[in-house]
């Protein structure tokens, strides 16, 4: 019987949801079921990872570990080979912590896991797993068990193309769209979460897994592009019919999500029902071309274009396109908001001498904090986080040396285009550290709690499953989440940490340094625009 429902709403944020729950939006109450859950249960702001980005944040929910320990920092990872950088994608094999699915399965609990990122190639679970962020072309071989695709394919209304990740469509995130175009773009996202809901409900009803976990990510995509119709501070009723049509469609999406939550809850009414987001949302007004700033500081050199089509595509990609023989500090991708400081080695003579690293880094932090919008004179970077502070742990070396928090929480640009700071005509949605946590079920208190950490969610889910909480989990059960009677009958227990590696399939054989280096170098990524997330 299902005891734990873990529902992910990517990017869900109380600033957007509150008017839809309380009925203060002009359309009245849009999400009555979620409103009732919050009235009955426990809710709190949920603080995301140090850099609030989908892959590291959901991996923290799934592992109970922060990125410095689980090892996922971005969509993209790279290997610096001195004269070239090779970009490739993070995947499940890079996770250096055990997942909740594996922890539960080891202890005899069955699991259904749907649409969580970084879950491909699929891991063996005691149940069913369909990873998120996978193209329809690759769904079959990325499901666990291998027979799952044919089972799901037989479900009524299943459509692999509607269900899966459309790289071309998502690459438009960050582009300025006219509302007519935006309507069409949003409209294509509605069927996607319906597909995930249909599969989820069917597996929930047929398999009755102990742990049912489903993530819906339309919330994130739609908020990115349609922020101007969602932000209560920006929406004033709509200046055009097109804007009003977008608003109506976007709210229909939220109504649909509310219906999915209701139906899932009704399918397992006695379970703990846990809703979490990986981060919240806010509006971003500035385009911050941080590599241009680093060029002006003398830390990087752009790669010269030979005028070819390939070079043009490379310049327009979301990967830093630099002359690596004359670059010592750079931002690799917009999604990272990270600055990498290259250390001088034989292969990388352009790097900073190791003995000068600390002084160079301190000076660079000061220079970054002084980056300004020339039009207003205002600083555009609010904080610069050192990696040992933002991402402590055994995987810290994979993290950027510095992580930027922009004044408006936006993502940086890595393109070579003047000026370095531009104000957008319309604010775009961007990630904010404060997401949501909502929980109902046996023993759950009726309260608005203190702010929580994203890694608390994994401890809560484990406890809900009746499992001891592994000692290496970094989160805890918040005081006041459960009532005293429940805790008396279900005391929080702890256990030794599980296996240190989470990747599912056959572990790679021991490798020498050259081979380690080579494994990083298989990228063919120039068309991957979606990382502007």
């Amino acid at each position: 019987m299902t005891s734990t429902m873990l529902i992910g709403l990517d990017g869900a944020t109380f600033t957007v949801l509150d008017p839809l729950l309380r009925g203060t939006a002009e359309e009245g109450v849009v999400m009555p079921f979620l409103a009732s859950l919050m009235e009955q249960g426990y809710s709190a702001k949920l603080r995301s990872t140090a850099h609030p980005l989908t892959p590291p944040a959901w991996t923290s929910v799934v592992t109970g570990r922060t990125p410095g320990h689980h090892g996922i920092f971005d969509f993209v990872r790279f290997e610096d080979l001195g004269n070239e950088l090779f970009f490739t994608l993070y995947d499940a094999r890079d996770i250096r912590a055990e997942t909740l699915w594996q922890i539960a399965g080891r202890q005899g609990k069955s699991v259904v896991s749907l649409n969580f990122p970084m879950m491909a190639p699929p891991m063996e679970v005691n149940g069913s797993l369909v990873p998120g962020f996978v193209s329809w072309k690759h769904l079959r071989r990325n499901m666990w068990p291998s027979t799952l695709f044919d089972r799901i394919k037989a479900f009524e209304d299943f459509d692999a193309k509607e269900l899966s990740w459309d790289f071309e469509r998502e690459s438009a995130i960050g582009d300025v769209m006219a509302d007519e175009e935006l309507f069409t773009w949003v409209d294509k996202h509605l069927p996607r979460d319906k597909q995930w809901f249909n599969i989820g409900l069917r597996l929930l009803q047929e398999d009755k897994p102990d742990l049912f976990a489903l993530m819906m990510d339309g919330t994130d995509k739609i908020q990115h592009q349609a922020w101007h119709v969602l932000d209560p501070a920006l929406w004033t009723g709509g200046a055009t019919e097109a804007a009003r049509a977008v608003r109506k469609l976007v709210l229909q999406y939220f109504r649909n999500v509310d219906g999915y939550l209701r139906a899932l809850h009704e399918a397992a009414p006695d379970a703990h029902f846990i809703i979490v987001s990986d981060h919240g949302f806010t509006g971003s007004e500035k385009v911050v071309r941080v590599n241009l700033h680093l060029e002006k500081l003398g830390h990087l050199t752009w790669r010269e274009s030979d005028g070819s089509e390939a070079a043009r595509r490379r310049d327009m990609s979301n990967f830093a396109n630099l002359d690596w023989s004359a670059t010592r500090a750079f931002c690799p991708t917009p999604s990272s908001n990270g600055i990498v400081i290259r250390k001088r080695t034989e292969a990388c003579p352009a790097g900073v001498p190791p003995e000068e690293y600390e002084a160079f880094r301190d000076r660079l932090i000061a220079d970054l904090l002084d980056m300004r919008d020339d039009e207003t004179g205002e600083r555009v970077i609010a904080e610069v986080l050192k990696r040992e502070d933002a991402f402590p742990g055994e995987c810290m070396e994979r993290a950027p040396d510095l992580t930027l928090v922009l004044s408006d929480h936006g993502f940086v640009s890595v393109r070579n285009r003047e000026p370095a700071v531009v104000t957008r005509p319309v604010p775009l949605g961007t990630h904010h550290p404060d997401g949501i946590f909502v929980m109902t079920g046996p023993g759950v208190a009726h309260a608005r709690g203190a702010d929580m950490s994203i890694v608390d969610t994994t401890a809560i889910a484990a406890h809900s499953l009746g499992l001891p909480i592994p000692e290496d989990f970094e989160g805890a059960i918040p005081d006041g989440l459960f009532d005293a009677v429940w805790l008396g009958e279900h005391p929080v227990r702890h256990a030794a940490a599980g296996k240190a590696t989470g990747p599912a399939q056959a572990a790679p054989p021991a490798r020498d340094a050259e081979e380690e280096q080579r494994e990083e170098m298989l990228a063919q990524l120039r068309l991957l625009g979606y990382i502007e997330d």
Binding site: E84, F86, T88, L89, D91, R93, P121, S135, W136, K137, H138, L139, R140, R141, A160, F167, A310, Q505, A506, P508, P509, R511, E515, E516, R518, E519, M521, L522, A523, Q524, L525, R526, L527, L528
Partner: protein, 93 residues
């Protein structure tokens, strides 16, 4: 150590399984090209590398040497080229 014929057969079956749901009417041979004949996008190349690494149980085959030539990504690859690459990497001492 894998024999050449085993490498060829494993690669072929990996690719056949890889494109199973794509609705292509393509014959798989050494001359089959990923982009021209199988309509690969860049993300499909990455996924194929992951699939091949899984099939041969190694993440250390060094695919960058196949995918990049003189600092630029190749425009297309035939299965024969991939097969020759795998033979070279899997049969070396």
């Amino acid at each position: 150590m894998l024999k050449r014929v085993e490498i060829a057969e494993r690669l072929r079956s990996t690719v056949e399984e890889f494109i199973e749901d794509w609705g292509l009417d393509a014959e798989i041979s050494r001359d089959t090209k990923l982009v021209e004949d199988l309509e690969f996008d860049s993300i499909d190349v990455i996924q194929l590398v992951v699939a091949i690494e899984g099939a041969f149980q190694s993440r250390s085959l060094g695919f960058q040497d196949l995918l990049m030539r003189e600092g630029r990504y190749v425009d297309d690859l035939s299965l024969g080229e991939i097969e020759a690459f795998l033979e070279q990497r899997l049969t070396r001492a």
